[in-house]
């Protein structure tokens, strides 16, 4: 699947305390399929809002957003959920693994949202865990793992359904440098080797330097673009 991202005059606003807040305003953006993009900017600049829109977790107030051939801004809730199950892998800053499930079962979750048969699920989960180097921790619970290992499980969960698009919100924000580097290596490899489009929000310039391109947002607008040296 082609997971290029095309945003045209994309705006998001909402009412809060009688005021209109506009975290994202008339944004135009193109991300090529297979590109590793970093989004940087101060708090409140609209990074996470943009990521929510790209993952169809929110609807734009105006403008359009397309991922591949899909106009995801017009999706209903159910359509968006089904699309995410097929096409999007999400990585959170705080991992958000389900504590009652083992690493293997956490990775399996997105496949349960779809309709994959058991043998295919088993094959995919084993492959994903092998890719992130956690085959030996497959039956451990999140509480039995380090932060870095948890985030690797989260990455395995994000890629297990073979989505064309991966969105990551501060994936290294809660990790030490060594763990952060291994996570960034993984994200770079899924983009370079497997052709996934990766959009990552980060505050860390070192992390952003691993991306093909870095966009800087401020007050809901793009202010600067930096290509990888």
């Amino acid at each position: 699947m082609n997971a290029s991202i095309q945003c045209e005059n994309l705006s998001k606003s909402y009412q809060k305390g009688g005021q209109t807040i506009t975290p994202l305003e008339a944004l135009n953006l193109h991300v090529a399929a297979g590109e590793f993009l970093a989004l940087m900017g101060p708090s409140g600049s609209g990074k996470t809002t943009l990521l929510n829109l790209i993952a169809a977790l929110d609807h734009p107030s105006s403008g359009s957003i397309r991922v591949g051939e899909h106009d995801i801004g017009s999706f209903s809730r159910a359509e968006a959920a089904a699309w995410r199950a097929r096409s999007v892998g999400i990585i959170f800053q705080l991992y958000h693994l389900v504590p009652v499930l083992s690493a293997w079962e956490n990775v399996e979750l997105p496949l349960l949202a779809g309709s994959r048969p058991r043998h295919e699920r088993r094959k995919r989960v084993d492959s994903a865990l092998r890719l992130v180097g956690l085959t030996d921790r497959a039956h451990h619970r999140p509480t039995e793992m380090s932060g870095g290992q948890e985030q690797r499980v989260a990455i395995a969960r994000a890629i297990v359904a073979d989505p064309a698009l991966i969105v990551a919100d501060e994936p290294t924000g809660d990790l030490d440098r060594e763990s952060a580097d291994s996570i960034l290596d993984l994200l770079a490899s899924v983009s370079a080797e497997f052709g996934k489009t990766v959009v990552m929000v980060t505050h860390d310039a070192r992390a952003a330097a691993r991306a093909d391109r870095t966009l800087h947002l401020e007050k809901g607008r793009l202010v600067e673009a930096t290509d990888k040296a």
């Binding site: 990521l51 995410r84 389900v98 949202a113």
Partner: protein, 387 residues
């Protein structure tokens, strides 16, 4: 097919969620099981009474009792009434019966002896009843022998060869009687002359006559009228009624008592529903972030609500099974009987009762989980990257 496959994982996820909070789940199960236990026990009493009444109503048996009686011991009919009754048109056979009970009023621990004429009783029992651990012929040879109903034997722990005493009468167990008529299973049948002497009633006196009408010659109502008319001028007058009416009249206290317990059953139902609904609402509220996470991973609102629904369903079914098992163990162990004025009713949990109670627990669980499930499916709309 895809939809079914989408839903097929939900019970496993629901089970894992229940296992995650073992103590909370265990306490909820305990509460549900207690409610279902009460429901199952009450329902078994109600249905046992209904079955006993229905069994009596199914045939054309009449019961001839002394008029104005209120207890078996106050019905003292001359045994020689047997001849005139037998000769009435429309009467197929007549069995004189002496009833001796340890409690005349409503009681939960009733032992009732029924003294019967052996030959008449063999005809009366027919082939429907079976005798375990002994035989009818053995009983015939034992003057103090008793064919003990299966339920009574279980409640008293009796087996063939045992001797036991109740109401001042000591008998030897000749066999265990298993009859389709629940009344037979709750009493002990002895030889009529033995019981007349052992109870001090005296030879020649019986409590009642069981009369089977021949519907081809006369209706049971006509036969009953003829019998009462026959003895209307005698010193001891009779009151004849169909066994169903006799049972209903005699068991009126029990019917009223058991009828009242429907309110207990209703309270149990409300308690179970409230407990499941409360638990599931707490679950949904405590799991907002997790529901949102599942939604971001591609779970639909229906699937997320489905997990909650299955959790409630599992609680209801497991709690229901526990409660039913507890009720079955209690009823098998205690083998309680309701008795009033010599009519004895065994309280037993029939397969139909089990299915009915389990179906009720399942339906309650679904009904009580619907709103929490709806809430979960809607609240996951708050899904976002910053959970």
């Amino acid at each position: 097919m895809t939809t079914i496959r989408n839903l097929s994982h939900l019970p496993r996820l629901a089970w894992r969620q229940l296992a995650r909070h073992r103590w909370r789940s265990a306490l909820t199960l305990l509460g549900i099981a207690s409610g279902v236990f009460l429901l199952a026990t009450v329902e078994s009493a109600r249905q046992s009474l209904a079955r006993a009444t229905a069994a009596a109503a199914a045939d054309s048996t009449l019961v001839v009792y002394q008029a104005q009686r209120f207890c078996p011991s106050t019905s003292r009919l001359p045994e020689h009434y047997l001849g005139p009754i037998s000769r009435l048109p429309g009467v197929r056979d007549v069995t004189p019966v002496l009833i001796v009970v340890n409690h005349c009023g409503a009681s939960l621990d009733v032992v009732a002896f029924r003294g019967v004429d052996a030959d008449a009783w063999r005809t009366y029992l027919g082939t429907q009843a079976t005798i375990e651990g002994g035989s009818f012929d053995e009983w015939l040879t034992q003057s103090d022998g008793a064919l003990v109903g299966a339920h009574l034997a279980r409640s008293r722990g009796l087996k063939p060869g045992d001797r036991f005493e109740a109401a001042g009468v000591i008998v030897t167990v000749s066999g265990i009687l298993d009859s389709p008529n629940s009344q037979d299973n709750s009493v002990a049948y002895t030889h009529l002359p033995f019981l007349q002497q052992a109870s001090g009633t005296g030879l020649g006196t019986v409590t009642q006559f069981n009369v089977r009408a021949d519907p081809e010659t006369a209706t049971p109502t006509e036969v009953a009228r003829e019998i009462d008319a026959l003895f209307s001028s005698d010193q001891i007058r009779t009151n004849t009624s169909a066994e169903a009416a006799f049972f209903a009249d005699t068991a009126a206290d029990m019917i009223e008592l058991v009828g009242f317990t429907r309110w207990l059953a209703l309270a149990a139902v409300v308690a179970v529903a409230g407990l499941i609904a409360n638990t599931m609402l707490l679950v949904v509220r405590g799991r907002l972030r997790e529901s949102a996470l599942l939604h971001t991973l591609g779970f639909s609102g229906g699937q997320i609500g489905g997990i909650v629904l299955f959790e409630g369903l599992l609680l209801g079914v497991l709690g229901g099974l526990l409660g039913i098992a507890a009720a079955a163990v209690l009823l098998a162990w205690q083998a309680p009987t309701f008795g009033s004025e010599g009519v004895v009713m065994a309280v037993a949990l029939a397969p139909g009762d089990i299915l009915r109670v389990l179906a009720a627990a399942t339906a309650l669980a679904i009904a009580a989980s619907l709103y929490p499930a709806l809430l979960a499916s809607r609240r996951c709309a708050a899904a976002a990257l910053r959970l």
